[in-house]
Subunit: 418 residues, 2 copies
Amino acid sequence: MAELVGNVLVGQSGGPTSVINASVAGIISEALNHECIEEIYGTLNGVLGILQEDLIDLASESQQQIRALKHSPGAALGTCRYKLKKQQDFERVLEVFKAHNIRYFFYIGGNDSQDTADKISKLAQQQGYELRVIGVPKTIDNDLPITDHTPGYASAVKYLATTVREIAADNEAMGQGDLVSIIEVMGRSAGWLAAGSALAKRRDHPHDPPHLILLPEVPFAQDKVLEDIRRTLKREKFCQIVVAEGLVDSDGNYLAADAATDSFGHAQLGGAGDALAEIIGQNIPGVKVRVAKPGLAQRCAAHAASKTDVDEAFLAGEAAVEAAIAGHTDKMVTLLRGDGDHYTTETGLAPLSDVANSVKKLPREWINEDGVSMNFQFLRYAQPLIQGEVTVPHDSGVPVFARLEKVRVDKILPGYDV
Amino acid sequence: MAELVGNVLVGQSGGPTSVINASVAGIISEALNHECIEEIYGTLNGVLGILQEDLIDLASESQQQIRALKHSPGAALGTCRYKLKKQQDFERVLEVFKAHNIRYFFYIGGNDSQDTADKISKLAQQQGYELRVIGVPKTIDNDLPITDHTPGYASAVKYLATTVREIAADNEAMGQGDLVSIIEVMGRSAGWLAAGSALAKRRDHPHDPPHLILLPEVPFAQDKVLEDIRRTLKREKFCQIVVAEGLVDSDGNYLAADAATDSFGHAQLGGAGDALAEIIGQNIPGVKVRVAKPGLAQRCAAHAASKTDVDEAFLAGEAAVEAAIAGHTDKMVTLLRGDGDHYTTETGLAPLSDVANSVKKLPREWINEDGVSMNFQFLRYAQPLIQGEVTVPHDSGVPVFARLEKVRVDKILPGYDV
């Protein structure tokens, strides 16, 4: 494989996670090891920054700030939900790449982003422009195929399991057999996050909270769920329920009434918790219902991140650069779990086209027959991912996160209307 | 002062906090130092446990578990919102105290609980039963008078400021000048918690998020707030708003439509965030609005507690015992701030009757003229309270909390119907 000399471009896309910046740190850290890489640029707000030629010089950032990326939530380069649609947009991307001699493009994102990376890669091949494109997986939804799991998922789950256990302690103190506590969690089409809340249970304590996990995979059976709640209230001091925002009824309609649509055509939800609270209040007289909705905190609670997750996100960034240097392109880095009893991870590669726009569902056989709890197969899968705590530096009592200088790269091309 | 020989009873009341158990640990720890104290009992679920003679032997708990109370949320003894109403209830309390030779009663709670403690103390005096009653302050609402601040408040604020800063990082990455992010926080009648979110701002960065803090003290002026939001969206990439659940309009009506009433006659709220989101969506076209509602997590996120708060809650417990041993009764422990530049705390005592059912308001002069931000006087007050982080032990990736054995004290009296 001939050495490809040129510049690196790193981008972040879609919803941030607690560890998406750790992947940027991994990419920069590894890129600095290779002499064929001349400049290390970042694009501001993903493909939007490419279209508008808003690039920054990442190599000029202080080492201190790059190190701080490992514990900083959000997306330090900015992100976007803009989807390249027109052929003209793709042509513009290539034009910008050529103008800045971008030969290595690392795009950190979920399904839609891997699809974008794939299309950019294929257009470059068509045009005979030598470009190596490697995707880095990212999403708290854990719904990317082929990879064992996705960086960002474990930290969201660790935060949720922590929150569930804490709220359970509060509920246990307050409850007199009349308290239903609902936590509405993210998860449009797959219940990976809601399922993860099962990690709040102690091993061999199936009756520990959360008492019911309502997944998008299991249509809401109102009478059965109400009966489950009544039974739990009799047995325990309270009933703690984790409900995914994407819970649907037997006709496939969202429990939440006001579904809208985001720019990728996905329904935007919210309100399953309140809808459920209303149903419970109407059907179980005298019960008190409390709803919490962590919302965005689920994907940015870096102070409660999983150390395993942070390390793997960094590793995935490093592996992307190594793969590109080795001549790979049009691939996404995957995480592979070792076969041994002791949890280990290695990285692999999968064709972007196999990843793009495909969704990994929560296996039905990991859900117990009761439909509201997870079995040992899920726990065996998820448990290792949330191991280890991080130490986030604090100043004046609050966490301190990275702030990049964002030194702009001079624009070369005429402007472009997005 | 003649030595009073007898048993201790500890109770917890009202909503739990992240540090209410630290006060229990402080009481037990100090009580063990005094030979005139024979047994150390706890009442399960506050006054309910007294009425029903549900007492446990705290001295028989392991030292390990008592130490773990310092980082355990919820209320390890159980709590209640039951309010003693009938004279018969008060008589029963005294009867139980006499039956178990309770001579020291420590009640950890907020305004209502201090009122209950006061009434029990006065009835004992009337009956000539020697009893020393000391209240220990507790509430995330920070609304108890006389004490500089209330254990529990600082940890809730630290968690909120952390969450605000993390969500701000996410918002900053996603926003394109069109994103409004709302965090609905607790606070029925006073904006102490909402105000505390101002600690997420860096010193001398008044434009840092949260951009608007909507307090119950400042009636919601829709046009002005919408104008503030529009201006922020122009200046920043996003507008982050912290709204107290008790936000009212100029007629004093809650912004949230469905106000109910709890057993103490307070309106139970929820929904100010969603109500605000609706107003914004209707009035600022094209804007995206996201709502998070940490709910109960605000008062139980022990993993993000303030070390200062934990230490002061423990100290308040110790001070309660010391005061009772010294002969004080019918008092609540207060926290007194030192005059020096360096933050220090000592404890004092205030008559229960001065505390009971009185409310400390957020000083109006600590709110900036814009009505949506806090000035340096508030920051100088609140900043020291959230200093220091705690280390909570984890097992299998989630925090581990105290689990008391709760060895029951034998019942002596006939049953009592609550």
